[in-house]
Structure formats: C-alpha cells, structure tokens
Symmetry: C2
C-alpha cells in the first residue's frame, strides 16, 4: 500500500490522551465506529485509517488545549474539514485524534473597502460566497467540491479559475494557526503585501496540517464581475485545443476559466446528460469584465479557435445560456463515472508547462488505452493541470495493479516534462513516493528540517507529505 | 544604533576562511578597502559595515565551495546583488564574505509558450526586459531601482505595478539556492502551480539571504499589453484621493499602476521639473489591455475621480503623452531630495489596509510637521503601501533623533491599523525592532526555529530579520 501506512501506534499515549480529553471534553470525545470511519475515509484506493476519536472543536482555545494534551502524550492530531481531500490527508496511520473544524464556521469580519474577509477555517466556499452575496464581492478559488476554506488552505487547493485568480497560496492574506507547542502563531496583518520576515502564511498553506492547525484565515476577495461571457468549441485534436490555449494566454486575454474535456469525457457527457456534442476535444471558457470587454474577449478567442480549425465556436453573455454551454463541464465528473457503472474514479493531478500539455495528455490517453484502462481527461488547461480519471473496479486486483502502474507512469512523465505530480490535490499519503523524484533529496531534507523544528514530536498529521525514509 | 549591529566577530575563523578562499580563488578574493566599503554600504542611517572580503561568484559550484569553507570556519556569508536594498541587508555586522552575484547574469532559457524564463540571480530587471523585448513578453515587477532579480526575490520586492501583477512572491515560479549545508535545493519545476509539499520557494523569497543563496530563478512573464493608457488627476485631500482608489478597485477596474503623490511631493516636482501642477494630492494611473479596454477603463476612472471632486482628470493612450503625464512620478524621488539640498531621504515603507490609508497618510503628514520634519509622501496606493521620506541632515544629531522617533512612530501606527512596517523593503537591520510588535512572539519563535533548522551555525547573513533577543 501507499507509503506511510505502517506507522507505529503509541497505544499507552492514546489511552492517556483519551482519558485526559474525556476529562476536558466529556462526551464530545466521539469514539463511535461510524464517526471514526467517516473521519478516516478516503476517496482513493488508499485504505481508510480511522482515528481513535473525533472532537468537533469550537474555538482556538479548545484546539490549543487538545494540542497540549496530545503533545504531553505523544498522540497524533489530524485536522478534518469536509473530508474532500483526495490523497489520504485525513487518514490516521498511527491513530490519534481527528479535529473536525466544521463547527468553527463563523465569518468574523467582512471588510468591503479592503476587499478582505476574516473567517474561521470551517467556513465552506459556498457558505462564504452566500454570505458575501450582497457585498458585490466573492471569493474566487473553486476546487469543485464545497470544501472548507481551512482545508483548501491546508492543501493549497485551486480549481477552474486559478488561471485568473490564483490558488489558495495567492488568496490567503494571513492566518492564525495553533502550533505543536500549543502556541498560536499569527502570520501577518491585513496589509495587501508585506516583506516582514519569513512568509509563514505560505509555509503553512499547503503543509496539510503537518506544521500548524489553521484557526483563522484572512482571505482576499474579488469584485463580482459586471459581466461574464462563456464560450465553447471543439477541436480535431488535443494538440489544436492546447495550441489555442497557449495563444489565448500569450495574447493576454484575461480568461477567467479555460477547461478541456477530451473526446472520451465528451462521450460520457453526451450519454449522461443526453447531449449531442461532437465527440472531440472541447474547450470551455469564461471571461469576466465589463459588458464590452467580455464580448470582445470571447470574440477574440473565437478568432483564435477558428485559426486552429474549430468550426463550432459558440459564446454567450446570458446567464441561462452560460449554464447550458458549460453543462458538459459541470456534469463531467459524474458523467465520467457513469461511463463504467460500479467503477471508482482514481483522480490523477499532474501539471506541466503548457507547451508540454498536449504531449502529456496524448501520451496519457495512449498509455491508458494500451493498459486497457478507461480514463477520461478533464483539465484546467490554462495552468497546464489536468485530471486523467482511470475508472477502476476496485475488487479486480489485477486491474488495480494496472491502474497503479498508470498513475505512477503518468506522475513520472509529468516530472520528466518539468512538471509536478500534483497541481492542486497535495501529496498526502498517495503521492509521497513521487516527491523525491520531483524535487530531489535536498528539498526533502529542507522540508524535514522545517518539520522537525516546528513539530519535533511528529504529532501533527504524521505520515503525510514526507516519504518515510526522508 | 539599529539592532544587530554588535555581533561578535570570529577573528580566527575569518583568517582561516580567507586563507582557504585565497587558495581556491586567488586574487578573486578582493580585500581592498574601496571594494569592501562598496559592498557594506547602506542608503539609510544605518552605519556601513563592510565585509572582510568580496568574491564575484561565477557559478553555483563556486557558491557551494565558498559556503563549505565558511561553514567549516564559522564565517558569515552576505549575498550582494546591486546594493539597492534599503534596510542594511548587505551590511556585515560580524564581518565575513560578501558574495557579489553580478557576474552570474546569464539568461538560461526563455520559454515564450510557457511565458516563463530561467535566469541567474545577477540578471537585473532592465537587462531581462531588454533581452525579452522581441518576444512580446515582459517581467512586470518594478521596484524603481534597476535591482538584480536575485536581490528582488531575496527581499520580496515589488513596486508600482504590484496592484496588478503581484510581488516577487507571486512571480517566482521556482528557484535553486545553495543551503548552509552546501547542498543545492530546487524548490520546484516549471509547472504554473503545484501542491507538492512545503512551499520552499516562498520560504526563501523574502528571507533576505538568511536561509539560502539564490543561484537560479524561474520567473513568470506577462504579455506586453496591446495598449496602455495613462491618467492623472488632483484631489482636494488625500482622503478624496484614497476614496477614489478604493472605489476603482472595488469596481474591478484592472488598474496596472495607481500611485499617489502628496501636495509636498508635487511641490517638489514642480520645482525640480519646472512643471505647474496644482500643489494638491495627485493620483497617477496606468491601465493595460486592448485599445478599447484601456480607453474604457481610463474613462471609468475619470468618472470616479469626478465623483470625488477632481477637476483636472487627464488621460492618454499615446506613449509620448504617457511619459509627460507620468513625469511627476518618475521624478518624484530626486525632486523630493531637491526640496532640501544636502539632506538624506530616509525611506519608510508602511503598508495598511486601503480603508486606513488616508488616515495613516494624514496622520503621518501631521506628525512630521509637528516634529519639524520635511517628509514628502509617494504611495503605491492600490496596495495601501506608501513611502514617507523624511529629509534629514545626517550631521544634525538632534534632527536624526527626531526622524528616528518619527519612523518608529509611523511603523507602530501602521501596525496598530492592522498593517505592516514594511510593504516591500524588508526587515534587514533597520526594521528588526518592529517585527515582534507586528507579528508577536510565536511568529518570531517559528521563524527562529526554521532559521536554526536550516542554518544551525548562523552563517547566512547573520544579524538580519530576527531581533537579537528572538
């Protein structure tokens, strides 16, 4: 199984911690099997590893109290947002306490003039945007799932509009986190930029709960655009589609989203949503701006698409038509699963320089076919990030082996193309075997040195990110 | 004097290091007084502290060799780019070896399709943009000085167009750096985004040479905009000007630069450049986009300016007129110095949430006046960052004391307004006394833990960033 699955449990410590936690939190220390299983599940092929207990924390002070007890007793703490991470980040390979942040879901302050918001980490992306609706502002990062913003920060999530608005790394102004010492670190104030010392916010964002437990986030907001246009078009090949993407970005068209579905994904969507789109690689775009500019931008893209042979460019600025044009993208995940009823979709997450994207996607398609795998592709192609989703019958060990071979091969391919094995899902347990090949031993050494300096007892989400032999 | 000026020199180690370095590098170990003084100068009131020797490094391997010798002998290494840092970053408070990176100035690869470039750290901003001219691409970060890109990364620099393109933190895709161990860390590949472990690039960017010596940078590039418009206008008060800025950004106008000169700065510019601008707070803007959009944006801003009482809004899309409109901003620094011949300008660098900006600037002006200081203001107001520049006769000890009081007061004021003492200049030696007040002890503890983990011998730029009692 994946690296980091076989950590040793500190049974005596866990017993002691549970006793002390029960003293402090009473019945709020939940040890029922269903609750524990729900907090140690994964949506990949990584086996679930439930924690010993779950506590729904309600304040930063409670988090500090738990951390101090777990530090005393050397017991792991695993933070939990909504459980939508994809690489085993919430698993408890050495047992321990899962801290569920869903009740720390208050929006603490909205500053419309400064276009920022201060929130607790359990606020979800959708809850935040619902709350903001009347301010004319929104939070742009959209990973698809209605994840908690604390979890999104912890995994450095992004999604369809990162090409315009960046990832969580770009949208967290500052944060508060409880450290393994029990102290609370504040990484900055609300200034839009700062050169005040080491960038602790960026160090904690993406650290997957291994350095600090995020208890507060100050996030940048964006103005809801005056107008939005959507566009779609099909291409004869993935290469034509990717070349259109490259030219669009080189020309400086401020595209807000630019997504690729490969022919197999489109076939899935046609079957699932009863559409009759051409079963060919398809781009879906969104532009944000003034009424005039979004029209101008969509038309400028239309010219590019035509230059690369697209014959069915369509665009609209009407909200109802936008949804229709983008339906293929919205349905893509479920439509892909429906291509093979009963199968599990194993999401890959490579990201390569956009000049290598067509080659990477095309090779992935060919390799999947050679391995007898059904593996539709959707991609955030403006960033060079795509998800190839092998559909696997998990009870067929031989097929799982082939899928595993495919995933490893694809990760290595992306790395050989100066890319990464993970654009937005994180390392967790699943991608640990690829980190050394991607960054080299000195980077692992530096990460390990930081980890040991901040968490010398290795109680914060042990067994994640760093390979066991790092 | 500033914190960190009184570190102990390791005389025996320095002698041993010099002997070994001379063996390896011969006459390239430069120990002449003029060369040493040039590398230990500062442009502030911090006293110069020259290193014991200067080596113009020519390769990553040479940097590694020097680091290993200095680690063996426990001797400080201070990286030097162009010497334009403003907080004593290049000073050698415990002596040691200054590594001048100006000969590591090769552009290693330009990838137009991926809109990135791989360079050595000694390449300057202007040299890079000259090299890129024919590609239709440019590197946007512009701190004013023609600094080296390695230095800009090390101090997390930004400048006038950060409001649109971000700071160095946002524009470094990946880097290579020599660590105190002598090993070379690579922080990532050329993918536009990655969730692969701790964000070591962001940890090293802004660490001012205290964690790693940058030997290679992969930078994001932008397309040269099809069209640029410039606009200027005056306001009755700083508050009106700031309110116009707030509304501009809230409306989502994609302003590329938005700069403020206060009335005193404008008076300086009028005298220096023989202009007759109204001696009132003035905004200067630049928009980047298509021909239509930059016109539309400038006009939309014109409407906002009028709403806040401006009566002299002017804009243009012609390059020759743009330079004329922006002349006041280009001349502001030298014009400010000319307000008081013989004086030194002591640049402050606070950054506050934009809602607090008018209050912060107005209080700074009043306080300077009450202290009898001449202190013009220029600001990157889209980010809430401004430089108030007390003009000080450095041989007047009493005046220096008043200026020192002013700077400390202003840093504390910005921090009390949820801002930072440094938006873009860094901490160096000069701002060390303010870091604890801004971030709190746990942040200093975490930075100190990281520093000790990566540089246990404290040989990389000692006496910078962290207070001596941290």
């Amino acid at each position: 199984m994946a690296d980091g699955q076989d950590l040793t449990r500190n049974e005596a410590g866990i017993d002691a911690a549970l006793a002390r936690l029960q003293q402090r939190f009473g019945a709020r220390v939940e040890t029922g099997a269903a609750m524990r299983e729900q907090h140690g599940h994964t949506v990949t092929w990584i086996a679930p590893q439930p924690p010993d207990a779950v506590i729904f924390v309600e304040s930063e002070q409670e988090v500090q109290d738990i951390v101090r007890i777990c530090a005393d007793t050397r017991v792991p703490i695993i933070p939990f947002g909504t459980g939508t991470s994809l690489e085993g980040q919430v698993n408890a390979p050495a047992g321990g306490i899962s801290l569920d942040f869903s009740r720390m879901n208050r929006i603490l302050a909205v500053h419309p003039e400064d276009m920022d918001v201060v929130i607790q980490p359990g606020v979800t992306r959708e809850a935040l945007n619902t709350h903001l609706r009347d301010t004319g502002l929104f939070f742009p990062v959209d990973p698809g799932a209605n994840a908690s913003l604390g979890g999104m920060a912890a995994t450095r999530a992004s999604g369809t509009n990162a090409v315009r608005y960046g990832t969580m790394k770009d949208n967290v102004l500052a944060l508060r986190a409880v450290l393994p010492s029990g102290e609370v670190v504040k990484t900055g104030n609300r200034a839009r930029k700062s050169s005040a010392g080491y960038d602790l916010a960026r160090l904690i964002v993406g650290s997957e709960g291994t350095l600090g437990l995020i208890t507060e986030l100050t996030l940048k907001l964006q103005g809801i655009p005056e107008a939005i246009s959507a566009a779609t078009c099909s291409f004869a090949s993935v290469e034509d589609a990717c070349n259109a993407v490259i030219l669009t970005i080189q020309m400086g068209l401020p595209v807000a989203r630019i997504e690729l579905l490969d022919a197999l994904s489109v076939r899935g969507v046609n079957a699932y949503s009863k559409l009759d789109l051409p079963e060919a690689p398809m781009l879906l775009l969104e532009f944000h701006g003034s009424e005039n500019s979004v029209k101008e931008q969509a038309q400028a893209f239309g010219d590019i698409a035509e230059d690369f042979g697209s014959q069915n460019f369509a665009f609209t600025t009407k909200p109802e038509d936008r949804s229709r044009l983008w339906q293929a993208r919205h349905d893509a995940y479920w439509a892909s699963l429906a291509l093979r009823p009963g199968a599990k979709g194993i999401s890959t997450d490579v990201c390569v320089p956009v000049s290598r994207l067509a080659d990477c996607v095309t090779q992935a398609q060919a390799r999947a076919e050679a391995l007898g795998l059904i593996a539709p592709v959707v991609g955030h192609v403006g960033d060079g990030n795509f998800h190839c989703l092998p559909l696997i019958m998990m009870d067929d060990a031989e097929e799982v082996t082939r899928a595993r071979e495919f995933v490893g091969w694809l990760n290595d391919l992306a790395i050989s193309m100066e890319g990464t094995c993970t654009g937005e899902h994180g390392i967790g347990q699943g991608k640990k075997p690829y980190l050394r090949g991607e960054l080299g031993q000195p980077a692992l050494d530096m990460m390990g040195a930081v980890k040991r300096a901040v968490d010398p007892l290795d109680i914060f989400n042990p067994g994640k990110i760093l390979p066991d032999d790092a």
